[in-house]
């Protein structure tokens, strides 16, 4: 254990925290050197965010001590933490999207004249100085809802710096960014550290730790595992420490052996709920035994495309065919009948009913069909048989969870149930939208394996993801979506991350990539 010293911006000792009877953190320690980028690595639910929320004063720990710059501190709430020079950028941004950038930055820390009247001039100058110093360009007068995710993150960083933060905590900062925005963020972090600031990033992405951090603390199931120098480790050794077993980071794939075309989209036009056309003449086709990865930055029409495919949204023109049959503008039930199943990005909103039991969720799509329903009565025996089959086949834990509310399962296990249920439909086409969102390496490995298996069974898969790595690892064919249409199609291995990132940002294929 390291001595308490002024050389460290933060030192935490013996941090323990329970929610109810569940121990989230158990005697965790943390040492972050001043002027460095320190990563906290751990699976989902390992307690990383809880640890940082304790440091930021959002939660109080049951026991343990926090030292800032070698001095014992009691951070009883966020106001105290902010005063002590700690700033936090949350995973879900804490921004009011109806407000302008400057309003968001000054909120809670306004410079005011008489009667509490807000004076923005001084704050503006202060913010502009910070912007120039670290290259955090953003227009102060725009409304936050009109900004890209990357820009919103800058506003969050500005917010922390405006309050005089010397220590910046970034919670999963790269989860929602495009490759280019990630590069930008790493550059900004570099200039902050060069100026003497200290940064802690919470993440489960190994690549970015290797790229940016100097040191890394690994937490597993609420326990401190190790503190390592990043340069001494590889992605593989880090993953092993995080999960506690060997992990395959790359999926093994059998060679690509496509069959005939099962699914096609021709010249599809769809409008979003505000009446603006967001899918503009999109065409696509998928063959048996093929995983087609659709890459693209959020907000380029993916949402409307998916809804149109599932007949949850009206198609203006164009056709969608499965096995030659047109399915556009029919009904979601018909789509299911034609052999299209979907794994939604937001499983809580579309995939499952959180307050239903696991068994009830398992027959959510089939409750009307035999054998789960006979003359209007549910057949619990068949339902439980099917659920237990899914539980054992997909290794859903805990083993005897069929009567538990699905809310009580971890995200990874919820997703396993959804995937198992959809695959049990024996679909011709599986639409997987961000199937690993919010899952950790162990669960990701499992989901990827399952998708590959399905492909090897000669099914077609449409994979829509914002994670470029996932698309590149799994897909046989990669299509890039930009502004409602396909902006380029590659065979796997034909293009690298930069080429695809370039097309995702709207570049043209024949243009020079600079």
């Amino acid at each position: 254990m390291v001595e308490i010293s002024k050389k460290y911006a933060v030192q935490m000792r013996g941090i323990t925290k329970s929610f109810g009877t569940f121990k989230v953190l158990d005697d965790v320690e943390l040492d972050v050197k001043k002027g460095t980028i320190h990563a906290i690595l751990g699976e989902n639910g390992a307690g990383k965010s809880t640890l940082m929320n304790i440091l930021y004063g959002l939660y109080s720990s049951d026991s343990g001590e926090i030292y800032l710059n070698g001095k014992l501190q009691f951070l009883k709430n966020t106001a105290v933490a902010i005063k002590s020079g700690i700033g936090m950028v949350h995973q879900h941004f804490m921004l009011v999207d109806k407000f302008t950038v400057i309003q968001n930055i000054v909120l809670g820390n306004e410079t005011t004249g008489r009667f509490g009247i807000i004076k923005t001039r001084e704050s503006r100058e202060k913010v502009k100085e910070i912007i120039d110093r670290y290259g955090l360009n953003v227009d102060l007068n725009r409304k936050v809802r009109d900004l890209s995710v990357g820009q919103q993150q800058r506003v969050e960083i500005l917010k922390a710096l405006y309050r005089g933060a010397d220590l910046l905590i970034l919670d999963e900062p790269t989860a929602v960014l495009t490759p280019m925005e990630i590069e930008d963020l790493i550059r900004i972090m570099g200039s902050l550290v060069a100026d003497g600031k200290t940064i802690i990033i919470i993440t489960h992405k190994l690549k970015e730790i290797k790229k940016s951090a100097q040191e890394c603390t690994i937490i597993r199931r609420g326990k401190f595992i190790d503190r390592v120098k990043v340069e001494d480790e590889t992605e593989k050794t880090l993953a092993k420490k995080m999960v506690g077993r060997e992990i395959k980071l790359k999926v093994d794939k059998t060679p690509f052996n496509p069959g005939e075309e099962v699914f096609s989209i021709k010249n599809l036009h769809v409008r979003c709920c505000r009446g603006i056309e967001t899918v503009k003449g999109l065409s696509l086709s998928i063959r048996r035994g093929e995983i087609l990865g659709l890459a693209g930055i959020e907000g380029n029409g993916q949402k409307e495309l998916i809804e149109a495919l599932l007949c949850a949204r009206h198609v203006d023109s164009g056709e969608i065919r499965i096995n030659g049959e047109e399915i556009q503008n029919t009904s979601p039930g018909n789509v299911l009948k034609c052999g299209v199943s979907a794994i939604h990005a937001d499983r809580h909103k579309y995939g499952i009913v959180l307050d239903f039991s696991v068994a009830e969720n398992a027959i959510l799509e089939k409750y009307r069909d035999k054998p789960y329903c006979e003359r209007g009565f549910l057949n619990y025996k068949e339902r439980d048989k099917f659920t237990n089959k899914l539980i054992s086949e997909y290794d859903i834990r805990p083993k005897d969870c069929k009567d538990l509310l699905i809310r009580e399962l971890s995200g990874g296990n919820q997703q396993k149930l959804v995937i198992g249920r959809e695959i049990a439909n024996e679909p011709e086409l599986l639409i997987a939208v961000q199937p690993t969102r919010g899952l950790d390496v162990g669960a990701i490995e499992y989901v990827h394996k399952t998708l590959i298996n399905l492909r090897d069974k000669n099914k077609a898969i449409l994979l829509i993801s914002l994670e470029l790595d996932e698309i590149m690892d799994l897909s046989d064919t990669i299509a890039v979506m930009y502004d409602g249409a396909i902006n380029g199609v590659f065979k796997s291995g034909e293009a690298d991350e930069n080429d695809i990132g370039f097309l995702m940002a709207g570049g043209q294929e024949n243009e020079q990539c600079c």
Partner: protein, 307 residues
């Protein structure tokens, strides 16, 4: 002709004043993220307390102040239920409505020999040109209740606080993204308590401006739906103080129409006419509810640390 137009304007303003106070309360509470459908109940208790304190002290102003306080106390209950205990805000609001009207009736029977009607106050709230006496016909036509003036001042004051000061910035942020306010070290709970109590005070004053300015006593029907009309005005006015004010004028006009069209040898039965404000409220809600933009977090209890 001029006189009857002035008469229409005066009555419109007179009937809109209570609505304006109540709607302002609604705006403040909803902007801070707490739905307050208990406004009706807070108006009832304010109407009763205002009238009875006015009767016993002989001073309408002390009645008005006590009415505000009583509305504030009732609102405190709503705040405890919906902020601290994170109860369903609609259910809590309904309870407040039942308590408000029930309690004022009960207290009335207790203090006024079993009557559900209080005795008239010796002196109503003054009119703005009251000091001139009633000598001039013209002055009488434009002699507005002081509550009309006060309600307009309250609107301007609320607008100023809401859009020019740091407190307003925080209140507006609370209704959109309370976690953001919490994360910069401002207490969500305290701020919401203050806003809900303020809304109760305003609703109480609104209730009293019925029983201390329009009529001079509390009756079981003194407050019959004004609280809900005020809520409709909040929506119609897009959760803005000025917007709510204009909406209240509109609804006030509806109530004025009842007075103006009724009486005389008019063919329309008064029972039908009396429906007018409510029918207009429903029509306005049907036309505007879908389109207006409510504060995003309104009605959702804030739980510290939940995502």
């Amino acid at each position: 002709m001029l006189n009857s137009i002035l008469f229409a304007i005066t009555i419109t303003l007179m009937y809109s004043a209570p609505l304006v106070f109540a709607a302002l309360g609604g705006v403040i509470s909803e902007k801070s993220g707490v739905t307050n459908i208990g406004i009706e109940g807070m108006m009832s208790i304010g109407a009763f307390v205002g009238a009875s304190v006015g009767y016993y002290t002989g001073n309408a102003w002390s009645g008005l102040i006590c009415a505000g306080l009583s509305g504030g106390v009732l609102a405190l209950l709503h705040a405890i239920a919906s902020v601290t205990f994170q109860a369903d805000q609609t259910v809590s609001g309904i309870a407040i409505n039942l308590i408000g009207s029930g309690l004022s009736m009960f207290l009335s029977r207790l203090f006024f020999n079993g009557a559900t009607t209080t005795l008239p106050v010796p002196q109503k709230l003054p009119k703005i040109f009251g000091f001139l006496g009633e000598k001039y016909d013209f002055i009488n036509c434009i002699n507005l209740d002081i509550t009309v003036l006060l309600s307009l001042l309250a609107v301007m004051f609320t607008w100023f606080v809401m859009y020019k000061t740091k407190w307003g910035l925080r209140i507006r942020a609370l209704g959109e993204h309370p976690a953001a306010v919490d994360s910069v070290g401002v207490s969500v709970y305290r701020a919401r308590y203050i806003c809900v109590i303020l809304s109760g005070i305003l609703a109480g004053i609104g209730g009293a401006s019925v029983t201390l300015a329009i009529i001079s006593q509390f009756t079981p029907t003194a407050i019959s739906g004004q609280g809900f009309i005020a809520l409709a005005a909040v929506i119609f006015g897009k959760w803005k103080p000025m917007g709510a004010y204009c909406a209240c004028l509109f609804f006030g006009f509806a109530q004025a129409l009842v007075i103006m069209l009724g009486g005389g040898n008019n063919a329309i039965p008064t029972d039908i006419l009396a429906m007018l404000p409510y029918v207009m409220t429903i029509i306005v809600l049907m036309l505007f509810v879908g389109r207006s933009s409510a504060p995003k977090a309104a009605g959702k209890p804030y739980k510290k640390g939940s995502r």
